[in-house]
């Protein structure tokens, strides 16, 4: 690897009023776009990619903080190397980052649509890698729930065990995945490579180094997951009093879509960003600690990670002070016991999220059972639970006028 000189500390300049205003406008724009994209499954993938890029920025920013914030400011620091220069500003939804490169056709395209491409590419890859671990448990729930109640309805006493057993098996599977996924998502964000998500030994080592932080992150998930859970069950409250008048379906549709957009904007996006920021900082700290303890080698870092850590002077191994044999044993026992307790608590906190998923999906069944298999704060932030049935009922009369005979002969109530 190249030898890179660490950045010298320079007192940062105070941000001007104008730059604060610009940042506020950009932040609001990003927020609005994210909330809107989250209303459609396909577009929510773009949000996943965009959040991955933001997470990478947070990871490097955390290293910058841990190194004592050298350089005039963070953007100036990241502009100092080609591997991090794209992190100088928040990622764009469409435009690619400004780079000093010859104005070729490719460069122009990168500038015009590079952001969109990166959001899409990283969003698809991250959605897939997360799904590979999370979906087995949650699809088992969806299947077991369906099969179990189908069997119960038909009073299949002979197979009564199947639904509940499968459902219960899905719980540890999902929780085990969730012990791993938040750190792995950040690993993938930091390296921008999908393969990094599956560097199991490395990711698990980072988790083990930060068990208490994992407890904190799982607690945060257990609290913030109330946003999607309560939003799902919100339709049972509200307009449905005994004195309710007949609801105009078109206005019901509009009301439902507005409600979901508002909740996405006011609660879901902030919750998502908070969770990913905490996870990013956790990852950054874990990597710094592991590198300095010598428990992961420099070769295990991605090039961009190594460069950033090297420039910040964080790459040096700092061996732990020598302890007596008894003290080492005590620390080992404490660490081992602590890890087991922390792992159990973390699993318990994820079980609270499972309970929320279960209760909310029981109270309000979502279309295609997606309340089971997509958790907006963990997987794709697709957050419009407006029933398809309502959309069809509103749109069908228009279709009937335009294409007589288009209605399906099998009509659901």
């Amino acid at each position: 690897m190249n030898v890179i000189e660490p950045v010298e500390p320079i007192a940062p300049a105070a941000p001007s009023l104008g730059s604060v205003a610009v940042r506020a406008v950009v932040g609001l724009w990003n927020w609005l776009v994210a909330a809107t994209l989250c209303q459609v499954l396909v577009f929510s993938v773009l949000v996943v990619g965009w959040v991955q890029r933001v997470s990478r920025r947070w990871i490097v920013a955390r290293w910058w903080e841990l190194a004592g914030a050298p350089g005039a400011d963070f953007p100036e620091f990241v502009r100092g190397d080609v591997s991090t220069e794209d992190l100088a500003a928040w990622p764009s939804w469409i435009l690619g980052p400004k780079r000093n490169e010859p104005p070729t056709w490719r460069a122009r395209m990168r500038r015009l649509a590079g952001g969109l491409w990166e959001n899409l590419r990283l969003g698809i890859l991250s959605s897939i890698t997360t799904a590979i671990l999370v979906l087995p448990g949650s699809l088992i729930w969806a299947g077991a729930w369906y099969a179990g109640w189908q069997n119960s309805f038909n009073k299949g006493y002979e197979h009564a065990w199947l639904g509940p057993t499968l459902f219960i098996l899905g719980i540890p599977l999902w929780i085990a995945a969730m012990l791993y996924v938040p750190m792995a998502q950040m690993r993938q964000a930091s390296t921008a490579r999908w393969q990094s998500f599956f560097e199991v030994r490395l990711v698990w080592h980072l988790i083990q180094r930060r068990w208490l932080a994992s407890v904190g992150l799982a607690s945060l998930y257990a609290v913030l997951n109330l946003v999607p859970s309560l939003t799902k069950i919100a339709p049972i409250i509200g307009p449905l009093t005994p004195g309710e008048v007949a609801v105009d379906l078109a206005s019901a549709l509009s009301k439902s879509e507005k409600f979901h957009w508002n909740v996405t904007f006011a609660a879901l996006i902030p919750a998502l960003m908070l969770l990913r920021r905490v996870a990013a900082r956790n990852y950054a700290t874990a990597v710094r600690d592991a590198v300095q303890a010598g428990s992961i080698s420099e070769d295990q870092l991605a090039d961009g990670e190594w460069t950033a850590l090297q420039r910040l002077g964080l790459i040096a191994v700092r061996p732990a002070p020598e302890r007596s044999r008894w003290m080492r044993l005590l620390v080992w026992l404490g660490t081992r016991t602590g890890q087991i307790v922390a792992a159990a608590v973390t699993a318990g906190l994820w079980a609270i999220v499972v309970a929320q998923i279960l209760v909310s999906e029981f109270v309000v069944k979502t279309d295609m059972g997606r309340g089971w298999w997509n958790q907006p704060l963990i997987q794709m932030p697709w957050f419009d639970y407006t029933p398809q049935r309502l959309r069809t009922e509103v749109e069908q009369p228009k279709k009937d006028r335009e294409e007589p005979g288009s209605r399906s002969p099998v009509e659901e109530p």
Binding site: W149, F153, L240, K255, Y385
Partner: protein, 398 residues
């Protein structure tokens, strides 16, 4: 202060008043009751929870026999409601008791008044404080308990104990009998324990299983035994379907089968069938609701055919089909009728009355109340329902 709890009835008995308190004719001999000669009544709880739309609306019905055929044979009350102005629950246990007692009440699980029996999650262990139709009938006429029948499913076990009230002039002595899988299992276990083929460990297991089933009876005045006629019914059931529970029909189809066999073997005068499977829609699959409606529709058709084929029942039976409650009509949910959370739609039901003496092909679209069913059945069968709160549905007879 240390007190000993003594059941009310035991207390009265110890005073020598028990026998008097159990009988309506205070200080007198039990009055001779006349034999019942009126029409038989089959009350079908079109449950658990059904909306008008999928039931009686010809464009959306999943009950074609009810909607297209039976409505021509009787009086259809299209705008029956559960009271919307009082704080009432629109649920199955409550609705069943509104039908049976003719009175709206805010029911509470018995654990609230008798904590010693323990809480039960989502328990519907209710006790009517005013007499049920079964008690009125058996008070007014010489009708044995096996001819006042409640047929109940296995998923809502609490509801098989709605067969008598705790009214001081009525109660367990005027109960109906109940037919359910629980009762069959109890009969089987009691028979096994009475024999001498069990080993000690088998005996202990069977006794524990029987005790567990008995525990489900939450009433202060617990029922004792099922009576010779019902024992005979279960004996024949065992001969035909065996002991496993895997041969007989299942779900709501089981209730239909129990009803048909009861009609043939027990000859009930007043019979209530507590269909329940629509309520599976709580778990989120709309087809459970619509299929349950279809199964119930076929069940009603089977019962009607059975009555038509029986000379004693034909032209001497009145059917009353009425839901225990409606269901939501929530446009914001993928399954709009998943629950019945006391919404307007959950209060909106219907009633169909047909059979002997009932005008044919009449539709009544004025608002009527679910509690009018009890008074209507009372009037048809010729007994007063003084504790029911409203008048009968006058349109139900010529």
């Amino acid at each position: 202060m240390n007190t000993t709890s003594v059941p009310r009835r035991q207390f009265l008995s110890s005073l020598g008043l028990g026998a008097l308190a159990l009988q309506p004719g205070l200080f007198g001999a039990t009055p001779e009751r006349p034999a019942y000669r009126g029409p038989n009544v089959i009350l079908i709880r079109y449950g658990g929870g059904a909306r008008r739309r999928e039931s009686i609306d010809p464009r959306h019905t999943y009950s074609p026999f009810l909607c297209h055929e039976l409505t021509k044979r009787g009086v259809l009350f299209t705008r029956m409601e559960i009271d919307q102005f009082r704080d009432l629950n629109t649920s199955h246990g409550e609705g069943t008791l509104y039908l049976l007692t003719g009175r709206y009440q805010k029911f509470r699980d018995v654990a609230e008044s008798r904590p010693e029996i323990g809480r039960k999650f989502l328990g519907a262990r209710f006790e009517a404080t005013v007499p049920t139709l079964f008690e009125y009938l058996r008070d007014a006429f010489d009708v044995p308990e096996h001819q006042a029948l409640l047929i109940n499913g296995e998923d809502r076990a609490d509801e098989e104990f709605y067969n008598f009230s705790n009214h001081h002039l009525f109660g367990v002595e005027y109960r109906s009998q109940t037919l359910s899988l629980r009762r069959y299992k109890m009969w089987l276990l009691a028979g096994e324990l009475a024999g001498d083929k069990l080993t000690d460990s088998q005996r202990a297991k069977k006794a524990a299983a029987l005790a567990e089933l008995r525990e489900l009876d939450y009433r202060a005045d617990k029922e004792a035994g099922q009576g010779r006629e019902v024992d005979g019914f279960w004996s024949r059931w065992q001969d035909y379907y065996g002991r496993t529970g895997l041969v007989n029909p299942r779900g709501d189809a089981l209730l239909t089968e129990l009803t048909v066999r009861a009609l043939r073997q027990l000859r009930p005068r007043l019979l209530m069938v507590n269909y329940q499977d629509c309520d599976y829609v709580h778990w989120g699959y709309l087809d459970h609701y619509t299929r349950a409606l279809s199964i119930m529709d076929r069940g009603i058709e089977t019962i009607v055919r059975e009555v038509e084929n029986d000379p004693e029942y034909r032209n001497n039976t009145v059917f009353v089909v009425v839901p225990d409650c409606g269901r939501d009509d929530n446009p914001f949910m993928a399954v709009p009728c998943q629950h019945h959370f006391n919404t307007r739609s959950a209060h909106e039901i219907f009633a169909l009355v047909f059979g002997r003496g009932v005008p044919r092909g009449v539709t009544v679209d004025r608002r009527v109340s679910q509690v009018q069913i009890a008074a209507t059945i009372g009037r048809m069968m010729g007994f007063p329902t003084p504790h029911a709160e409203t008048q009968a549905l006058e349109e139900a007879w010529s």
